[in-house]
């Protein structure tokens, strides 16, 4: 009990970082994801387009504006060029269209007036450009063919209203699964940072020269002492894991009650145990208490950035992902990403997931072995 009490005392000292990691998790894992309700039917992507109209009230111009607004998200930006430039840089809008003065009249004269645009150059902007080009081309051709303004507008609208049927095959609720995966990917950072920080701090407090000397001369059996230390650390990690799992039920919602949710939970449990072994290894290698903060940041942030916990793995450069193979986080996040697209549960589909989990277990065994070698060498030295 003495050991456990001391453990709790030290734990109480390091609650601040744990709270900070959790706040990050809630902020990024819970609120940062856009949710869409009707993911079961096809929803066309709409680019964010801003139209700056310098023309006066004119039927032709208004029709162009209507068409663009119908197929894009309308964004409210302050009416000055600096605000627009900022919005473009931070991707609040993908595409800005400047309709010049007298556009409508010039168009009817057959001038094909120049339209200035600003574009972020990403795929949304490409879509916006396709939309604008298509409209103008159709309008130009009808302008060549018909003479009356109303005829042109009617024909343009009639042609552009023709849509293609689109069928969607997947029955998965991808938006919710995306959210769950993102949440569990983010826990990679919280679990790693939390376990390493706490366990290293506790081990180094117990290893303080005076304290360890006192423990050695006391009547307590060193095996029992080690065992209790190990149990209390593991217990802490499991409580931390349970807390994050409970939090996921609140933040992610009902998808956690499905078979997909069970895999996320099992996967994170195995990873937590692996994080404990990493923390033990570092705690044994490290001598300086002040260095803990640095080590936690480098290891937890490093493996989170490299393995795709913050930035999705499929947009990381290939070279980075190759390096990431040597980190357990990579396999943990890979499983989360696989669960996202899992439609059927059978031996074939679950096999790669089990293999990933196996790799994490192997990593844990490796870390335990290294820890044993290191600590036995240290003991001999003493």
């Amino acid at each position: 009990m003495t050991i456990f009490k001391t453990f709790l005392k030290v734990l109480n000292k390091c609650k601040a970082p744990i709270i900070i990691y959790t706040v990050f998790l809630i902020f990024f894992g819970g609120f940062n994801i856009k949710t869409s309700d009707n993911s079961m039917s096809f929803v066309a992507d709409k680019p964010d387009i801003l139209i700056v109209n310098e023309d006066k009230d004119n039927k032709i111009t208004n029709n162009l504006i209507n068409y663009i607004e119908k197929n894009s998200n309308k964004i409210e930006i302050e009416d000055n060029e600096e605000a627009r430039n900022d919005a473009l840089f931070y991707r609040d809008v993908n595409y800005i269209i400047y309709i010049p003065a007298n556009y409508g009249e010039d168009f009817l004269k057959g001038v094909n007036p120049e339209i200035k645009i600003k574009s972020t150059g990403d795929y949304q902007a490409s879509l916006a450009e396709m939309m604008l080009e298509r409209y103008i081309k159709v309008a130009n051709i009808y302008n060549d063919t018909y003479s009356l303004e109303d005829d042109i507008i009617e024909k343009v609208n009639d042609t552009l209203s023709k849509e293609t049927n689109i069928e969607i095959t997947s029955k998965l609720d991808t938006a919710k699964l995306d959210k769950a995966s993102f949440y569990y990917n983010f826990t990679n950072y919280c679990i790693l940072a939390g376990c390493i920080y706490v366990i290293c701090l506790i081990l180094s407090s117990f290893k303080n020269e005076n304290i360890s000397k006192r423990t050695i001369v006391s009547s307590i059996n060193y095996k029992e002492y080690n065992m209790k230390l190990l149990i209390s650390n593991t217990l802490f990690s499991i409580i931390l894991w349970m807390f994050y799992v409970l939090l996921s039920f609140v933040l992610v919602g009902d998808i956690m009650f499905t078979a997909h949710g069970v895999i996320y939970i099992i996967n994170s449990f195995i990873f937590t145990l692996c994080a404990v072994t990493i923390a033990f290894l570092i705690g044994n290698l490290m001598r300086n208490k002040d260095a803990i903060n640095g080590i936690v940041n480098v290891i937890a942030l490093g493996s989170s950035f490299l393995c795709g916990a913050f930035v999705p793995a499929d947009i990381l450069p290939d070279s980075v992902l190759k390096i990431a193979h040597i980190l357990p986080s990579y396999w943990y996040i890979k499983t989360n990403e696989m669960v996202k697209t899992l439609e059927e549960f059978n031996f074939e589909t679950l096999k790669p997931i089990v293999i990933n989990m196996g790799v994490i277990v192997l990593f844990s065994i490796l870390f335990i072995t290294i820890t044993n070698i290191v600590s036995s060498k240290k003991r001999k030295k003493n």
């Binding site: 990024f28 430039n85 396709m130 060549d144 480098v298 930035v311």
Partner: protein
């Protein structure tokens, strides 16, 4: 005495390993992580070639306009190549879609149909292109009908001579092809070429390094405060004027901080290829002002708060990290959201002044915004210096 204390402050600060880790090494390590994680984001947002399949049934084979358009859009020599197409039967198409090897497939029954797995940008583009073909088809029908009517009118009125049906069809066909070719949209792109928003991450990194420099100032002041260290007690007893001691210690921290920032700049420019714009003197000026702001903040915190060393460091770190958070370090949109909705917050936030200063040098052609940020930083630094002077002067202890 000034030089003597400068020299020894310099030495003691450099020998403090944790201090050097946080101010020199940590920003470099974090920058490396940023580079690894973010270098591909913007490329992945560009339109890529989309893998699709087309069910090659009789309806498709007989539909010239679909066949030709998709052939052209998947041609390797076409600069605007959009698709990689596999021509398969319906079963194979379903299999390909099931294995996620294609975005979707097109099947023409009575009308063109598209089958996809989920909603998304590639799926939307496939839908758009298919729609565009249908719409062009309908447009050509309208125009052709109109042309035929015109020709008939002209022939009846005797304006043109009737030769043969083939001849007239040929004329109409040529006119329509000509129309399709020449009526392209007249669009000109006037956006700045410096649109890489991930640069903001690296600017916040510089901001973080500048403000972390406050810890250097803090340690340097603590060494001279009698209530903080034994060294401080001895300094207080010595007959040297206090301003000399304080100034020389602060100067030593500033020099170390500048060395750290210079190393960070060299690393980010040459190894990480960060683009700070082209105006080197102003970049250096902003970095020096940023360091001064960080340093004076550390000095002010050290002199105002009468508490232990760890807590003071904690205050500097939390202030810095919160400032960096607001200026976009943990998510670039955060800076925009704050700038747009609570502009005053980021006008008072030194991390944001530094970030926004680099941003305006990189993105804007005019310098108004840059100078506003620079002057704000200097004002912040002066305020901090005044606070420090007020709380440091005439300190006396009867006992301690």
């Amino acid at each position: 005495m000034f030089i003597h204390n400068l020299k020894y402050s310099f030495k003691t600060l450099l020998k403090n390993k944790m201090l050097i880790f946080w101010t020199f090494a940590f920003p470099i390590i974090l920058g490396t992580f940023f580079k690894m994680a973010f270098s591909n984001i913007e490329n992945s947002e560009k339109l890529d070639i989309i893998d699709i399949a087309i069910v090659e049934n009789d309806e498709f084979k007989n539909n010239e306009i679909f066949k030709e358009t998709f052939k052209e859009l998947s041609d390797d020599n076409n600069e605007e190549k959009l698709f990689d197409i596999q021509y398969v039967n319906e079963e194979e198409a379903k299999e390909l879609l099931n294995n996620d090897e294609i975005t979707g497939y097109l099947i023409i029954k009575d009308e063109p149909n598209i089958v996809v797995n989920t909603s998304g940008i590639n799926e939307t583009i496939l839908k758009y292109v298919t729609e565009e073909i249908t719409q062009t088809q309908s447009m050509i029908e309208n125009v052709a009908q109109n042309k035929v009517e015109e020709k008939v009118k002209d022939i009846v009125a005797g304006k043109i001579q009737f030769t043969s049906y083939e001849e007239i069809y040929k004329q109409i066909y040529d006119e329509i092809v000509d129309m399709l070719d020449k009526n392209n949209a007249n669009i000109s792109n006037i956006s700045s070429s410096n649109l890489s928003y991930t640069m903001i991450e690296f600017y916040t990194l510089i901001a973080m390094a500048c403000l972390y420099g406050g810890i250097l100032g803090l340690v340097a002041i603590n060494q001279n405060l009698p209530n903080m260290s034994n060294n401080g007690k001895r300094v207080a007893m010595s007959p040297t004027p206090k301003y000399k001691v304080i100034l020389s210690s602060v100067l030593a921290s500033y020099i170390i901080q500048l060395i750290g920032i210079a190393l960070l700049f060299i690393y980010t420019i040459f190894a990480l290829k960060v683009d700070y714009g082209t105006n080197l003197p102003l970049i250096v000026l902003l970095a020096c002002a940023g360091c001064l702001a960080g340093l004076s903040m550390g000095v002010a915190i050290a002199s105002v708060f009468k508490t232990n060393d760890n807590l003071k460091t904690g205050i500097v770190i939390s202030f810095t990290m919160f400032g960096c958070f607001l200026s976009g370090m943990m998510g670039i949109t955060m800076k925009y959201i704050v700038d747009k909705n609570l502009p005053l917050v980021n006008k008072l936030n030194p991390a944001s002044m530094i970030t926004d200063g680099f941003y305006s040098l990189y993105y804007y052609d005019t310098l108004d915004r840059f100078y506003f940020n620079l002057i704000s930083l200097l004002a912040f630094a002066s305020l901090m210096i005044v606070i420090s002077i007020l709380s440091l002067r005439r300190q006396k202890y009867d006992n301690i």
